[in-house]
């Protein structure tokens, strides 16, 4: 029998609210099976994942260190996703932001000017912006698919990074290792608590979140943006620009990713090296959807994902879990969330002859 998905007219409100918890429960059940097969302790593992990230001030500070860039990029990507502009290349935009921002401490190694950090923020934003402007231009001018262009540009950004690290920007005292000099203090965000890695860059994503919330929920511009991406013809008819939605979505995301990349090199890493993104560009996509593309939902989603990420790192040490199991656990969580989410909003129905093609509306 053939089945088809059909959107429920009124999804149960309780279930919508319960979806994340159902997903967590399913994940715990499925990963318990995996852990039992591996012969690992269930208690120790879940303790690592959910409790250890809150055990000490240091652990909590690490959660927020992860939270900042995830929140920032997810928030920005969600704007585009709502307008159906699929920017998959935040990773590359982040790298370009990190690169451009690093040019300041690389070329002015001795400077302790107070303008160092602001200049790096601006350059970081600019780097991401430029990298996102390319797919925006190609999409609006030549109708090139932005999914492919943004994704491919990530590889290009990575190669530029490798080139700089092996060539012109290599630390002259670094024994030929592919990394730049360690940045001077003036080029780093000051830590919020001395001795910890959590720093004042966290303020930027929080301000940005408030801005996005006001813009998307209270401002007409947010509405125009969503309509422009969702129903281009309707938007044109109403006098909103569909191209405008593409440009705005990509540029905002690029800028956010660029600043996030800058905050990594001017924060926990303290230099430009081969791994600068920690996969934030991709994780942020998960966060945006876990948060149902809603500014407030994303705050919770980013926090939750940070917790299980830190928990995952701790599980490696405390629960003796291999890193692949940690990735499976995190993957299971996403899959069960998306499955639960879909089943709450859609139902299976035997396939009927299609009479009217209805454009599916935004989830």
């Amino acid at each position: 029998m053939l089945l088809q998905f059909e959107r429920r007219d009124t999804p149960s409100k309780t279930l919508v609210f319960a979806t994340p918890f159902i997903a967590i429960a399913i994940t715990i059940i499925l990963s318990s099976i995996m852990l039992l097969i591996q012969g690992k302790s269930l208690l120790t593992t879940f303790f690592s994942f959910f409790i250890e990230p809150f055990e000490s001030t240091y652990a909590i500070s690490e959660v927020f260190l992860k939270f900042g860039p995830l929140l920032f990029i997810a928030q920005a990507l969600a704007i585009g996703f709502r307008a159906k502009v699929w920017n998959i290349g935040a990773e590359g935009q982040m790298i370009m932001g990190a690169i451009l921002a690093s040019s300041v401490p690389v070329y002015f190694t001795d400077s302790d000017s107070v303008f160092l950090l602001p200049a790096m923020i601006l350059l970081g934003a600019f780097g991401g912006l430029v990298w996102a402007a390319i797919p925006a231009f190609l999409r609006t001018r030549y109708n090139a698919n932005e999914i492919l262009v943004t994704l491919m540009l990530t590889s290009v950004a990575l190669q530029i990074l490798y080139y700089l690290l092996l060539g012109p920007w290599k630390d002259p005292m670094g024994f030929n290792f592919p990394q730049t000099v360690m940045f001077q203090d003036a080029a780093l965000f000051p830590p919020i608590i001395f001795g910890f890695r959590l720093n004042y860059s966290l303020i930027i994503p929080i301000i940005f979140t408030i801005f996005v919330w006001i813009y998307m929920e209270k401002h007409f511009g947010g509405f125009k943006l969503t309509v422009g991406g969702l129903a281009p013809h309707a938007a044109t008819y109403a006098g909103y620009s569909s191209n405008g939605a593409v440009w705005k979505s990509l540029l905002i995301a690029g800028m956010a990713a660029g600043i996030a990349g800058m905050s990594e090199v001017a924060g926990p890493i303290g230099q430009l090296q081969r791994s600068v993104t920690s996969g934030y560009g991709y994780s942020a996509i998960i966060v945006a959807y876990l948060g149902a593309l809603h500014p407030i939902g994303i705050v919770f989603a980013a926090f939750f994902l940070s917790v299980i990420h830190i928990g995952g790192d701790y599980a490696l040490v405390t629960a003796d879990l291999p890193i692949s199991s940690v990735h499976i656990f995190q993957g299971l969580l996403l899959v069960s969330y998306l499955a639960s989410f879909t089943l709450v909003n859609y139902q299976f129905k035997p396939r009927k002859a299609r009479i009217v093609e209805i454009e599916s509306s935004l989830t």
Binding site: I51, V317, I323
Partner: protein, 362 residues
């Protein structure tokens, strides 16, 4: 609401149990050793050898020592958190298994003076932070002599990880050894910029063979890819750290093995009796850390005798791989006859010796 309550109960339950379980797990008499590794332990390779280095300690101290190993961790901000957690969990002796852990490891060491660190391949030192490296070039010099005995094309190929001094000095040693037998021999290098990239390692090995090389040197690759290519293509091949002989039953030239056991045992003992002092640990043939073995039977008996003689001279100190005269790639003399490149010059080496075709990546 039902699921809410259940979840809450679960968390409380888990917490209580786990706290109970944790209080008993660490006791004061035992030493916990944290080991952070950049690649999978697997069956062979760098990480595998590092873990084997603790076998002696496990035998000696039995249950009084626990090893907490975390493998396959990329160098970067996440590695930092994991080593912090290791120290936080009460590991008092930490092995950091890769160069890239250096800066965060050093900061951690400075914050935790009661914890002893040993760090592979680095150059920064603190009171409780010792970088360690092997003098691989002593072994690769001997391999170069064997290669010279077997090569017909007079072209040798190297697949290298990163162009850092440790690897540059090893390849230079290889070239010096080969050219000490036959000065017409040349060496080509392909740099991968990765410790672990089976696909690229394989492709590079094939490219070197296509270019005429009939001896391969797999330099610091944590995968037997180059070794298997050698066997398939009929090129003799050797590698560093641990034997990969089973991947090349007929064409395995030998191995420049590292036995970290003596050094790790000494370091752990020093930590336990409070005499651990951070210093640059640079260990070679004379310390039994660099061991060349599994020589291919195709090497002529005459050459084998020469190799053994040179090995004995290096061990006794009568001969040094970097004895002058040494020339760089442009043919300029760098070390005069009768002189010797000093330790600093080798540890920071940034030039290739004559006979290596590939320019150093700048």
């Amino acid at each position: 609401m039902q699921s809410y309550l259940k979840r809450f109960k679960k968390i409380v339950f888990t917490t209580l149990f786990a706290i109970g379980a944790f209080n008993t797990s660490v006791s004061a008499d035992t030493l916990s050793i944290g080991v952070l590794l950049p690649s999978p332990i697997a069956d062979v390779g760098w990480s595998n050898e590092l873990v084997k280095g603790f076998n002696g300690i496990k035998e000696k101290y039995g249950d009084d020592v626990t090893l907490n190993i975390v493998e396959n961790i990329q160098e970067g901000p996440d590695a930092d958190r994991i080593m912090n957690k290791m120290v936080g969990d009460g590991n008092k002796f930490i092995l950091l298994g890769s160069f890239g852990y250096m800066n965060s490891g050093l900061k951690l060491a400075q914050r935790n003076p009661d914890v002893s660190f040993i760090h592979a391949s680095g150059y920064k030192v603190a009171d409780n932070f010792s970088p360690f490296t092997a003098k691989y070039y002593e072994g690769s010099f001997l391999m170069g002599m064997a290669a010279a005995d077997l090569t017909k094309t007079k072209k040798l190929g190297v697949v290298g990880a990163y162009a850092i001094p440790e690897l540059i000095s090893t390849i230079n040693g290889f070239a010096l050894g080969a050219r000490s037998v036959d000065p017409e021999i040349t060496v080509d290098i392909i740099w991968l910029n990765s410790w672990f990239d089976p696909a690229k390692a394989q492709a590079s090995a094939k490219a070197l063979i296509a270019n005429g090389a009939d001896i391969l040197f797999s330099n610091s690759q944590d995968t037997p890819s180059v070794v298997t290519v050698g066997e398939e293509a009929g090129a003799y091949v050797f590698n560093l750290n641990g034997s990969m002989g089973e991947y090349a039953p007929t064409k395995y030239l030998g191995v420049v093995k590292t036995d970290w056991g003596p050094f790790f045992s000494a370091s752990v003992d020093a930590h336990l009796n409070g005499s651990f002092v951070g210093r640059n640990e640079w260990l070679g043939v004379d310390a039994d850390v660099v061991v060349t073995e599994e020589w291919n039977p195709d090497i002529s008996a005459e050459m084998m005798a020469k190799i053994k003689a040179v090995e004995a001279d290096i061990t006794s100190g009568a001969r040094h791989v970097y004895d002058g005269p040494l020339f760089n790639q442009d043919g300029e003399q760098v070390v005069a006859a009768g002189e010797r490149l000093d330790d600093g010059g080798i540890l920071g080496i940034d030039w290739h010796v004559q006979g290596i075709n590939t320019p150093l990546p700048k």
